[in-house]
């Protein structure tokens, strides 16, 4: 389940992380056009990014984040080759994580 694309690049001591997650991000307010029934909510609630085992960013998301969410942030203190771990968990308890090297 490779649902995450991530890129982390360090420049002048600041690492920019960009990540794209494949997820439906269903709000629970949309109706199925064929049956007229509400499509149950299904969205990512928490995204965590760790550098050397320390959380640098925790995103708490509601259903109002767009489908296939994009996320970017910056932090200091990482160097080339360091490992970053990004993981998400959704409201159904599904989850995924990925590790990448800072370039």
């Amino acid at each position: 389940m490779a649902s995450i694309k991530i890129r982390a690049k360090v420049s002048d001591g600041v690492t920019t992380v960009k990540a794209l997650v494949k997820h439906p991000m269903e709000t629970g307010q949309r109706k199925d056009k064929k049956t007229g029934k509400l499509i149950p909510a299904h969205f990512i609630q928490e995204v965590t990014c760790e550098h050397n085992g320390k959380a640098v960013m925790t995103a708490l998301w509601g259903p109002a984040i767009s489908k296939n969410p994009y996320l970017s942030f910056k932090f200091k203190g990482a160097s080339k080759g360091d490992t970053l771990k990004l993981s998400w968990v959704d409201n159904r308890g599904e989850k995924d994580s990925v590790e990448t090297q800072v370039s």
């Binding site: 600041v14 709000t27 307010q29 949309r30 109706k31 609630q45 928490e46 965590t48 320390k54 959380a55 640098v56 960013m57 925790t58 995103a59 708490l60 998301w61 509601g62 259903p63 109002a64 984040i65 767009s66 489908k67 969410p69 994009y70 996320l71 970017s72 942030f73 910056k74 932090f75 200091k76 203190g77 968990v89 308890g93 989850k95």
Partner: protein, 157 residues
């Protein structure tokens, strides 16, 4: 299922000493304890009640040290790119709210001590409204807003 247990554990043990013991043992940082998903804040129907549930206060102080980058007109409300940059020191979290969404709180980013005051993501907007960025620093809330016109709503439909 493992996750459900973890959530129950986090919620249930705040009152008990288990968490503080875990913090002491270095198993959990306070930041991770705070990260339990704030259901009430995300279900709140107004900006004020969402902030109350999220941060315990909605006393916002306007700040010119926060800037929001978002389109003036969003053709598709389902994908509105929003970036928030702040030069305030000691930022604890950055939250993004769409004022007229059914539930205004879209996201709250909890930042670590080495993390810069910048986040970028894409949100859904039901209709034309103001996008509000709330920055928590030193226990206080600072905010700024930007009006985004939406031609096609991105919620429901």
């Amino acid at each position: 299922m493992i996750n459900m247990k973890r959530r129950t554990f986090l919620k249930g043990s705040v009152a008990a000493g288990a968490v503080s013991a875990a913090v002491g043992a270095g198993l959990l940082t306070p930041r991770m304890v705070l990260a339990a998903w704030p259901t009430n804040a995300f279900q709140a129907k107004s900006v004020d009640s969402a902030l109350d549930a999220l941060s315990g206060s909605h006393a916002l102080e306007g700040s010119d040290k926060i800037s929001i980058r978002a389109p003036d007109i969003a053709e598709n409300g389902a994908v509105v790119p929003v970036s928030v940059t702040t030069t305030i020191d000691g930022v604890e979290s950055i939250s993004i709210l769409a004022e007229k969404n059914a539930t205004p709180l879209t996201a709250s980013f909890v930042l670590g001590p080495t993390t810069e005051g910048f986040v970028s993501t894409r949100i859904k907007m039901g209709k034309t409204s103001s996008v509000i960025a709330v920055v928590k620093a030193g226990g206080k809330l600072y905010s700024t807003g930007k009006e985004v016109k939406v031609t096609i709503g991105g919620c429901g439909g």
